[in-house]
């Protein structure tokens, strides 16, 4: 690596470590990162430094009620997970289809060849956390999940299908889909439904002809979840819609 290239990369790595790399630069940077041991070492060092920055913040005592809120929220989570686990009707996909899903996620994780759409929204958590790390997370969920089931696209995309894997230990689900339109002008939002309301939780990313997302929720305990396709003119079409009843 030339000195100029080294400085350029260090600037990008620094920005990446503190969460200030522009969204447009992230895919290319992460692609480079996936294939460069030296760069991963540098990122590891800089990220360790960045993780120390919160220690510089002046201490403020948290209110006592906050402890009660947090403990109660986690207790509710634990209770719901137990109920969902007991009541869920499991449908195991075929070994062949599961292998295809795992291979797909592995391919995108190791190649780092992430073609990412629709990263212009500045509130996209995934883009800030790092897509590469999320792809590894997706692989991990797919490998260790204790509940998996197949899903089909809506009538708008009858050829679309996919697999959902939920890992109780991490509390996250991995969704992999095929058969969706790869037109770059389109973007796909993953949403969850609770109390009759839908809220977006992630983007659906594309790589090597497949689509994937990590949903950090117990999707089994929700009223449902799905994917909506957004066209350039704002037109929205639900391409996946599933409810607790279906799994």
């Amino acid at each position: 690596m030339t000195e100029a290239a080294h400085v350029l990369f260090e600037e990008m790595a620094t920005a990446y470590a503190v969460g200030a790399l522009s969204i447009a630069d992230q895919p290319a940077f992460e692609e480079h990162l996936a294939g460069c041991d030296d760069c991963r070492t540098l990122i590891s060092q800089l990220s360790a430094v960045a993780s120390e920055l919160p220690l510089s913040v002046p201490p403020v005592q948290p209110p006592a009620r906050l402890r009660n809120r947090v403990i109660a929220a986690v207790h509710d989570e634990a209770s719901q997970a137990t109920v969902a686990h007991r009541d869920s009707r499991r449908f195991m996909p075929s070994t062949a289809r599961l292998a295809v899903a795992a291979s797909f996620v592995l391919a995108l994780a190791t190649a780092g060849a992430l073609v990412v759409w629709g990263l212009s929204l500045s509130d996209d958590v995934a883009s800030r956390d790092g897509l590469l790390a999320r792809s590894y997370e997706s692989l991990s969920i797919m490998a260790s999940a204790d509940t998996r089931w197949e899903v089909q696209g809506t009538d708008a995309v009858p050829g679309a299908h996919g697999i959902v894997a939920y890992d109780e230990q991490t509390g996250s689900a991995s969704l992999v889909m095929w058969g969706l339109d790869e037109d770059p002008s389109l973007r796909y939002n993953v949403w969850v439904q609770e109390n009759g309301e839908r809220s977006r939780v992630s983007r659906l990313y594309v790589a090597d002809g497949g689509f994937w997302a990590v949903v950090r929720r117990d999707v089994r305990s929700l009223e449902g979840f799905g994917v909506t396709r957004i066209a350039a003119d704002g037109g929205a079409v639900v391409v996946l819609e599933t409810s607790a009843i279906s799994y």
């Binding site: 260090e10 360790a48 510089s56 913040v57 201490p59 403020v60 402890r67 809120r69 986690v74 509130d123």
Partner: protein, 190 residues
Amino acid sequence: MIEEDIQHRSLLSRVSGGDETAFAELYDLLAGRAYSLALYVVKDAQSAEDVVQDAFVSIWRMAGSFDPRRGSVKGWVLTVVRNRGVDHLRRLSARPRATVDIGTIDVGGSPEAVWEEVVRSVDSELVQDALCSLPAEQRQVIDIAYFRGLSQQEIAAELSLPLGTVKGRMRLALSKLRTSLGGADGSDVR
């Protein structure tokens, strides 16, 4: 610090197995830092509580995915809090003040409270000293980037600086911090 992290990892391991008592213990150890960080980021006490709750529920869900090779439990937890705080700012599409006025916040309690013993530690002084040793303009870009979640381009626009200047200041700042905190060899940042 090593003993502290061993304790945190032991608790987190139990949390990943669904141990709510261990979760409460971990919360008690880290809530002071977490709330301080959340308040520093979002500048609003009620929002800070929401951020901390959201972060700790996420930690409950994600405890099993913690990778000890990537740093300490405390660093991981605070990174989750920081990310949730920045997410909150983005959802609001509002930009906070540059600094939080601690004097306006009712901290309550006594200075001898347990939380303060947890929060005030040698490592925070080291980090504060390292940050204070930076030129003000370098410290500023790091502060805006990390605690407000602005990109280099957004920082350049806000400070009316060339993008290259922001990139250079950020690179020099983190490089100096890496040296100050003893992590130049990548083995440990302290």
